[in-house]
Symmetry: C4
Subunit: 168 residues, 4 copies
């Protein structure tokens, strides 16, 4: 697909939905002797997400992981989240209906096969650089940067620049 | 060895046994001031292991490390484990006998010289990309991805695809 | 700009001000299930900072992050710090006035767009290797090493060598 | 220097002394909100160190860091350690005298300028791959692998193979 077409799709985006593990993180989990988990996120995602919110783009993190770490990260970033989600596309559909927007106004950012259905359905499917190979095929945009190492910021900058400057 | 021969071996596998450190992890250990340890695992291993179990492949993690972290990881992944194992091949032999299967129906995934005997004996010996050089020589398959960075998922996808689609 | 001109600027530096996240760290944050944060710093920064102090260069870490981790790191390194800073250039100006020095005697080390104003104003603006692309344009010196992986030490050695040996 | 000469030096080594940070670790330190520190070590160092001990090579970790993490790591690896050391060469000399051996029977493994004196004096000075540039010049052997990512194991295997097989 031509880059100019992708620009036109990205400019219309009103709602960006992110998977968490592998997108906000490097897809790793640290585990201690008590079974407590840690993940690694990227500090500079914060500035990118803030700027998207300032221009009215709605944001959501949607994860199948039951773990509470996502809650803490989402609160610090001041964006909405849903964790422990069994059926991502069902949940995504409900969130879209609530907002009264269309699927082609939605971007979804994923990295693994449980993101497949969402990626197939939204107007702007995005895969992080180090996604599973079956996911990369489904994306209209593959980030240059890896999950947890700038991918979220790259997506935010891309959409922000298109919407404010008209170019990426 | 020809790839077609490896495909034939992999298709017959009924039991996959994994070392833990360096296979599920990046072979590092984080240590705090109280001597508490943490390791780093890969989130996407979970989907790969689930799919292998769904098609009836039996799974086990076999480690010489006494540490309890493995227990927590194995429980979250819902697969069996043995830690603090002095003699890996002896234990592996007992587990094979229990299942009434043959050595050529077993895959073993290792990364260091204490995995040598198991790798020499099983039908499908696998080394992760960043294994010790003496281990790489013993393997019929060397993963493209590193331990703790996709190696387990790559092995699961490889066997799953061969068994369900007939191709890798 | 010619390297000889950069050498002349660097020799005059009396005050080096560093951003924290992305400069002293790899710009990542580890988050546990209680929302507690960790960051990753570089051990060898300590020797570089000590040597700069020994020859009378003043040092400060200036961060917008509210988190207390910076406090602990700064105390161990025995250098001054300001965290939770809303307006970095305002604070920087006050610190410069206090010292009775000029902007062209100041180096500022940053990695993201909230460092832009400081970088535009000081005599020696420095960006770490893995800075945001809009920041790299503002720098007179871009480190070869990444933030949290030697960038601070590289800057210390660069200024120290110029001031003591006359060459980098 | 010719490799054959290095082999002759390595074969005579009776005592291997290691710096800790940057040699056993990747030279990073993780810091949490209470100022508690963690470091990252390499699991496979253990097998290499055990094999050297089995053939009678004496081992010591010598660090200037006051932190207790080294104590926990050294105990797990069952090797001696000295931390919080102000003058490394003085301490090294005392340890050599205690053992009744000569400087040319000693290997020292370092990564930064506080290791300089020890490296200049011992018979077999070794620098890890990612050492400070001033240290690399002092070494007769530079590891292929980085500190905390296999450097210690590489050194152990190198000396072990020379002493047991006569080749590296």
């Amino acid at each position: 697909m031509k880059m100019s077409r992708i620009y036109n799709i990205a400019k219309k985006i009103k709602f960006v939905v992110f998977d968490f593990d592998g997108v906000f993180t490097d897809n790793c989990v640290f585990i201690d002797e008590n079974g407590q988990e840690l993940v690694r996120c990227y500090r500079s995602d914060g500035i990118g997400l803030s700027r998207l919110k300032e221009i009215g783009v709605d944001l959501l993190i949607l994860s199948s992981e039951p773990n509470d770490i996502l809650k803490h990260r989402a609160r610090k970033l001041k964006i909405k989240y849903i964790n422990n989600c069994r059926d991502k596309f069902k949940k995504l559909s409900a969130e879209i209906r609530k907002r009264g927007i269309l699927l082609n106004q939605v971007a979804f950012v994923g990295n693994d096969i449980n993101d497949s259905e969402c990626l197939k359905k939204v107007g702007f499917p995005i895969a992080v650089a180090d996604s599973h190979r079956d996911i990369i095929k489904l994306a209209r945009y593959r980030t240059k940067l890896k999950g947890g190492r700038g991918a979220v910021r790259e997506i935010c900058d891309f959409i922000y620049n298109l919407k404010t400057r008209g170019s990426a």
